[in-house]
């Protein structure tokens, strides 16, 4: 499959977004776009504002200025839960799984948005409610197969090791069948092998489902290999944007990573 066919039109457009908490500026005038079907990375040193950017995209933080357009729908402000219904799913830097629930239940919550039967049907557990549960169970099982976590299906996730929890979190996000997937440091704290696995899953998701992926990493090396285009943030400002090789050669990026003093 050639690059050209895979990547489509602009799906997400971030225009002049700024965000501040009280007096502290987390993001200053950031603009970039994401095309359908691409893997877009946001990198930068610690505290560069990467997670804040992601939080703005899925509506958890409300940008102080600027606007974000997703699938042609523009929103300066929106409720957190609306992003999910528009087709944005995400994972978190510090795993945000529902610790008291099993893997299967966690994955199923990813599909909650699609389940419509009200509580009376549920209470009776009869007819349409059963049918609905079973359909979604099948979809959830496909994701579980895909990420090879069948064996921990009925284990409570609080008891799973870190690497597996990360994978369950990805499964939960995928179960929502999102148009765009936001990954917040999917490889943080993993060993080499786990990182490779995770890279493979990310590429597989992108290829098989055509999902647009926006991911954050502060480890440059991994990102450069798998992403189509890279945005670099430093101290809340965009300092570079382009294909991995161009970004790697960019002087400001090198400075940011080597820690040259700001003036």
């Amino acid at each position: 499959m050639s690059q050209e066919r895979r990547i489509g039109d602009v799906i997400l457009n971030v225009e002049n977004v700024s965000l501040s908490f009280g007096g502290v500026k987390a993001l200053t005038n950031i603009s970039f776009d994401v095309r359908e079907g691409e893997i877009r990375a946001i990198i930068g040193p610690n505290g560069a504002g990467k997670s804040s950017m992601l939080n703005c995209i899925n509506g958890f933080y409300k940008p102080t200025e600027g606007r974000i357009t997703f699938k042609g729908e523009s929103h300066a402000q929106m409720e957190t839960h609306q992003a999910a219904s528009q087709g944005i799913a995400r994972t978190f830097q510090n795993i945000a799984l529902f610790r008291g629930m099993t893997t299967l239940d966690n994955v199923m919550t990813g599909r909650n948005l699609k389940m419509k039967r009200n509580f009376l049907w549920q209470a009776l557990y009869y007819g349409p409610a059963v049918k609905e549960e079973l359909e979604h169970r099948e979809a959830a099982e496909r994701v579980i197969d895909f990420l090879e976590i069948e064996s921990i299906r009925k284990t409570v996730v609080g008891r799973l090791p870190y690497g597996l929890q990360k994978r369950v979190e990805l499964a939960r996000a995928l179960a929502a069948e999102p148009d765009m997937l936001l990954l917040d440091e999917p490889m943080a704290g993993m060993n080499h092998e786990e990182k490779e696995d995770m890279c493979r899953y990310i590429l597989d998701v992108n290829e098989e489902f055509g999902t647009t992926i926006v991911l954050i990493e502060h480890d440059m090396s991994v990102v450069m290999d798998i992403s189509d285009r890279v945005v670099v943030l430093d101290y809340g400002e965009k300092i570079a944007d382009g294909e991995p090789d161009d970004v790697r050669a960019n002087q400001r990026v090198i400075d940011a990573y080597l820690g040259v003093q700001h003036d």
Binding site: T80, F98, G100, N112, Q122, A123, L124, Y125, L134
Partner: protein, 359 residues
């Protein structure tokens, strides 16, 4: 050796999603139902119905209600007594205003009425969390009881200020009021408990239950994956209050016969029911029932045990000793098994599955 899932292959998701996926569990539940419906009525006497079984079942229903709110949805409530009172007073008003209406329908209607009240008091939960919310539910507790005490209309201006269950029939059998046979009231209460326990279990294992637990475990993440917090919490408040309301109606109509607001006091209802779900197990329907059994039986046991082994003392002294033992047992139980009876039950099942090989 006998409790095994080996050999019970499930070829469809439906059978894997079943409420009791293991055959032995299904047999066990069937056996419990037979005992409750046939076995107990063969041997129980009036004392057992009145002092043990009926309160046990009524409070189990309330405990399931509270567990939906606190155990599943993670919203701690100390207002159980108020919600039960709403159910009881609504039933009283409805059954005296419409004597022709079937009492079972009245119970259900009162449940819906309580659900509406519960939804109002659930609104603050969007902004207030944890213990702050628990204290806020006390506002409901005190306010509701004050209203029922103050406004004569609620108790039909009876001079004593009490509400009394009028005699009502189901299928020609008297089930409420002072002249109803204990066994008739027993069957009403038991049937309500069985039906609603099943419904609760069904809701808990479907997408509604998952939304509740997601809010409980991590509300921010739940919101980000598209679960609407207000909607989910209010639904939990509504359904929980429905259960408490029906339990409150049964509490007066099938057990006490008549009562004042004091019967729904925080010390009489709210705390004991909270004990039940914690000792039984948060987030477990079975646990709610086991916890209710424990908390209703413990004081009865403590009252009857000393005379049985030949110790006699003054009622006042005995009351205080009971208090101390009750308190110590609560603390002891929380230390030994903070996850409650439900966890013990699961461990027992694990052990049985392995038996006779330890690993």
């Amino acid at each position: 050796m006998f409790y095994r899932e080996a050999g019970q292959f499930k070829s469809t998701y439906q059978s894997d999603q079943a409420i009791f996926p293991i055959a032995q569990d299904r047999w066990f539940i069937a056996l419990v139902l037979v005992v409750a419906y046939v076995g107990i009525p063969l041997i129980a006497n009036e004392y057992w119905y009145q002092a043990v079984l009926i309160p046990f079942y009524v409070l189990a229903l309330a405990a399931i209600g509270l567990n939906i709110l606190t155990g599943y949805a993670g919203q701690v409530s100390l207002g159980t007594g108020a919600f039960m009172a709403v159910g009881a007073y609504a039933t009283y008003k409805l059954s005296t205003a419409f004597p022709e209406l079937n009492i079972v329908i009245v119970f259900i209607m009162s449940g819906f009425f309580t659900a509406a009240v519960g939804m109002i008091f659930g609104v603050p939960s969007l902004r207030i969390k944890g213990f702050y919310l628990a204290v806020a539910t006390l506002a409901a507790q005190f306010f509701v009881l004050w209203v029922f005490n103050k406004v004569g209309w609620f108790y039909n201006f009876s001079p004593s200020g009490t509400i009394t269950a009028p005699p009502r029939e189901v299928f020609g059998v008297l089930v409420t009021g002072p002249r109803a046979e204990p066994i008739a009231r027993y069957y009403v209460v038991l049937t309500f408990l069985v039906v609603f326990a099943l419904a609760a279990k069904n809701m808990a294992r479907g997408h509604i239950g998952r939304a509740w637990m997601a809010i409980r475990d991590m509300d921010i993440a739940a919101e980000i994956i598209g679960i609407r917090p207000l909607h989910t919490k209010i639904l939990a408040f509504a359904i929980s209050s429905f259960y408490c309301g029906v339990a409150g109606a049964l509490y007066i109509f099938c057990w006490l016969g008549s009562a004042e607001t004091e019967a729904f006091d925080i010390l009489n209802i709210s705390f004991p029911v909270l004990f039940m779900i914690i000792i039984g197990g948060l987030g477990s329907v079975l646990g709610s029932i086991l916890g209710a059994g424990f908390i209703t039986l413990l004081p009865i046991f403590l009252t009857n045990a000393p005379p049985m082994i030949g110790i006699h003392m003054g009622t006042e002294l005995q009351k205080h000793i009971e208090e101390i033992i009750f308190g110590v047992m609560i603390i002891y139980f929380l230390i030994v098994e903070p996850a409650g009876f439900n966890r013990l039950w699961q461990i027992a099942k694990e052990k049985l599955r392995m038996w006779p090989f330890p690993y």
